[in-house]
């Protein structure tokens, strides 16, 4: 029988098979889609760490797909969106049905589907394919762009109300009370694949050599040492930051994730309407038309884009926090910005990152009279 839980991302209570009990602290991350170049360093870092075994060949616990046409597995998001009745947002409250509410009609736990093997087999399909057509002589000015694509890096969202956990008939999936990481207990898993069907983000994956399902573990052995996950630490574009998210009413100004998600509302959940309260948050791509973004990130997206475009350049705190992404292997629990320098502190209060908002620049003369050469690179 379904329980009532509160999901702040949809602004209301909703049905969920288990009671809503939040962990002591919740793993969270913010990805800045504007900075991602789809180099797949994250995918490879994860792959070599966790899924280089037999039966894991097709698995990418971390993947980067091009939107709108890419998807791993193919069209995962549109498939789930089609299953939910068209529902809108009113004053920040989702008026449609979540995957749990939709499922309840049919006495199920979570609405979903099981992807075919072929749908997993082309992880980079749709790469760099644009939406729209480029006319001869076309010149793009201003935002948003009439033709566009963007990169969406995805890991398990370690949801507050996981669809995978709700679907498992064996209670083999659990959410760790100490950090909110969602794990499949390999000793309990019997390989029924219900979690794969029940996760709208399609992040549990079946291993045909062990007969069990596996999923992103949020690099918990690293996390327990205070170090960020492989995909986050290795990101060369520095688009990611890992931390802890508080419930909105307990948001703290000096917590980087809280500040981006709750206070400035710059980072948004992916498909909040699914109802799982995912904990990876995205700074939306500013060049993409609003309707698509609204569908993907919820009603706060236009405000987030506006903040990114208009406020960040004149906002020392936000600017400082954004340049601090990727500046330390350690998890930054606290931050402050002072005199155009951002300081990041780990869980023990130790300074682990110090980043100037503006890099000191020295401009040299174009012509060096001493060597009698012209410099191409003068900064």
């Amino acid at each position: 029988m379904m329980k009532e839980v509160y999901n702040w991302q949809i602004g209301r209570r909703m049905k969920y098979p288990y009671e809503g009990k939040r962990p002591k602290r919740q793993f969270a991350a913010v990805f800045d889609t504007n900075k991602c170049i789809a180099c797949q360093t994250c995918s490879v870092a994860c792959k070599t760490t966790w899924t280089s075994g037999r039966g894991q060949e097709y698995m990418y616990w971390n993947n980067v797909e091009t939107k709108p046409y890419g998807g791993y597995p193919q069209a995962w998001d549109f498939r789930v969106l089609e299953m939910l009745p068209a529902g809108g947002w009113k004053d920040g409250v989702y008026t449609g049905k979540t995957i749990f509410e939709k499922a309840e009609e049919q006495k199920k736990k979570a609405e979903g589907y099981l992807p075919a093997l072929e749908e997993w087999s082309y992880p980079n399909i749709g790469e760099d394919e644009i939406y729209g057509t480029v006319e001869q002589g076309m010149h793009i000015e201003g935002l948003p762009h009439p033709v566009w694509f963007f990169y969406l890096a995805r890991i398990c969202n370690h949801c507050t109300y996981p669809g995978c956990l709700a679907s498992c008939p064996r209670q083999a999936i659990y959410k760790r009370p100490e950090d909110g990481v969602v794990l499949i207990d390999q000793a309990r898993c019997n390989g029924y694949k219900e979690c794969i069907a029940g996760c709208p983000y399609k992040k549990p994956m079946f291993n045909a050599t062990t007969g069990r399902s596996e999923k992103c573990v949020a690099c918990y052995p690293k996390m327990e040492q205070g170090i960020q996950t492989q995909c986050i630490e290795q990101c060369i574009g520095k688009i990611r930051i890992q931390g802890w998210i508080s419930p909105p009413e307990k948001a703290e100004e000096d917590n980087p994730i809280d500040y981006l998600v709750h206070i400035r509302k710059l980072a948004l959940p992916l498909y909040p309407q699914f109802g799982t309260e995912p904990n990876v948050y995205y700074i939306p791509p500013i060049h993409v038309p609003a309707p698509f973004l609204r569908q993907m990130f919820g009603p706060g997206v236009e405000e987030a884009v506006r903040t990114y475009r208009e406020s960040v350049p004149d906002d020392p705190v936000l600017k400082g926090l954004l340049v601090m992404f990727g500046s330390s292997p350690e998890i930054i629990s606290r931050f402050r910005v002072k005199a155009d320098v951002a300081y990041g502190y780990n869980g023990k209060g130790k300074l682990v990152a110090r980043v100037p908002t503006t890099e000191p620049a020295v401009v040299r003369k174009h012509y060096d009279s001493r060597l009698d050469v012209y410099r191409i690179d003068i900064t």
Binding site: G53, R54, Q106, K107, Y174, A197
Partner: protein, 325 residues
Amino acid sequence: MNRDTTHLADGPGMKERVNRVLTPSSGRRLWPGLVTVILTLAIFAGTAPSHGEEGIRVRYTSGALTLDPDDPVWDGVRAYPVRLTVLEAAGPVRGTSVPRESMIHLPEETEFIFNLFEGTPEPRVKALHNGRMMAIMVTYEDGTVDTENSPDSFRDSLALLFPLSLSPHASSPLMGAKGEPVNIWQWRADWQAEVQGLRGLDVRQPLTEGVGLSPVDMVLKARYPGRPSSDATAVEYVAEGFGTLTRQTGQDVRAWGRYGDGRWSVVFLREMASDDPSDARFRPGGKTYLNIAVWDGGRGNVDGRKSISLTWIPVTIDPIPRRGE
């Protein structure tokens, strides 16, 4: 999350639930033409068997028992038919063959959905013992040989279920109940195919060769092997209700299946005596019960989607004849 297992058979209000489900008023709420019957576990607990008075007789043979379904030892052994019913599942995710419109009208308390209109295989059971070993052969129709268990396919499988204790009654035939465990033997067509070197999935999803395998993979496979042992084609469980299935530490059961003429014939073999407290006991001259579950992989059967015998089938084990008899 509460990691305690959930026991569907227990809990306050079970009687009320049953009553509510079966009262005419709630029946009227159902969509006309509804092809499901809604039942809860409590109905079955301790019910009398309905597979005939005698049930299955385990005949004595002085010869050796093997895993070979074609072993002549089976010639002339009487086969007992068993009726199965389609269980559409408890808490399914991917949906059932029941129309959505009908599902909407099911009462909220519904825990099991049986489909009486869906066809099932009709297994026939033969059983033998030689005083030391007991062999049970189940033969049933299956139109497709499904030996692949992949990200999007399911395998054929067959399970036998025995109560651990007969007093005061033989637990629930639907995978036992809290405090009343059952012993389950499951044969899997995918494991047998792997043991036979017939891993069909290689065509669709080739495995990497030797290089570049990380230690993680070795740790994973060592700690959580797919099969209980490298030659295992069956697994032994203990369960106290749906969702509680637990692999036994000691695996004593062996099984082998053969497919031919549109039928699987699967032989289970185990020593009658056992020191394992979660193993079913068998003794010559004794009695027990069994239950059968069949999964047809081609129909997406897995987990609670299967065909099962709803009530315990009595099993009578012949005594060992005295010398001269």
